[in-house]
Amino acid sequence: MASDDKPVRPSRGFVDAIPHNKALGLKVVSFQRAEAIFELPYDEKLIGNPDTGVLHGGAITALLDACSGAAVFAALTEWQPIATLDLRIDYLRAGDVGRTIRAKATCYRLTRNVAFTRAIAYHEDEADPIASSMGTFMLGTKAAPAAKKMETP
């Protein structure tokens, strides 16, 4: 999946090394040049409306935030710490009850200081999205030595 010129391969480390991703039950589907795909399996603990069983928007926010950050790492040629500056999410429709939500994020622009991402959340059909988001990330933020563990899959 990772090409030779791209040493940054956090892959499963995104879930194993990050407690909240683990608590959400996130799964890394793919991680390649400037793009990441994550999955959030349906889970009752994440329900926002107990009448309908629809998941809370916050869970989708967390999925898109995590996936967008991963897309930035997938775009970097050299590992460096990053921090989300802002994230805007448009909620397009309610997710279907009982179905896994997938997020696909792309880092479409990388500058020396800032990375720009867009992402969508959907079940299986990208043309029928649940949410879309735009994010910006600061590069080279406060060093976090132990996070380097994420480099090894």
Binding site: H20, L46, L87
Partner: protein, 147 residues
């Protein structure tokens, strides 16, 4: 009882915790609410499960986003005369500093409440209210189903 009926009962009794406990995701995040003066303060109790960067350590950005969004929704539910479940249309978070591994608080201000749309500003802080960790603005659809 339907969700709206349960929310109305919680509001009538002034039982904030009931209002929060009705939503499974609020329990997952460890949210609680209380009034301070006339402000509804939502608190996300720290737990290891909220960590996004174990090295710093820092809270997961998604947890801060979810706290802010929840605060805005509870504000609308609490202030509304008749309960309509707000549907998030757009939600924008500014992350201002990394979230320390401690409790985080949030409060919301409804900047405009129209017939169909409500605009809400939210801020979250930890030990010092003057230095927020994240702020957000959210736009909600606040129409009754079928109207």
């Amino acid at each position: 009882m339907s969700l709206v009926e349960r929310l109305e009962a919680a509001k009538r009794s002034g039982d904030f915790q009931a209002l929060f406990d009705i939503v499974p995701y609020s329990r997952f995040l460890g949210l609680s609410g209380r009034m301070e003066g006339d402000e509804l303060i939502t608190t996300m109790k720290f737990s290891q499960d909220l960590i996004g960067n174990p090295a710093l350590p820092a809270l997961h950005g998604g947890t801060l986003g979810a706290l802010l969004e929840s605060s805005a929704i509870f504000e609308l539910l609490w202030r509304a005369e008749t309960i309509v479940l707000p549907k998030t249309i757009t939600f924008t978070v500014d992350y201002l500093r990394s979230g320390a591994p401690v409790d985080t608080h949030a409060r919301s201000v409804v900047t405009r409440h129209g017939r169909r749309v409500a605009n809400v500003r939210v801020e979250a802080w930890q030990t010092d209210r003057k230095t927020p960790v994240a702020t957000a603005h959210a736009i909600f659809l606040v129409m009754r189903e079928g109207t």
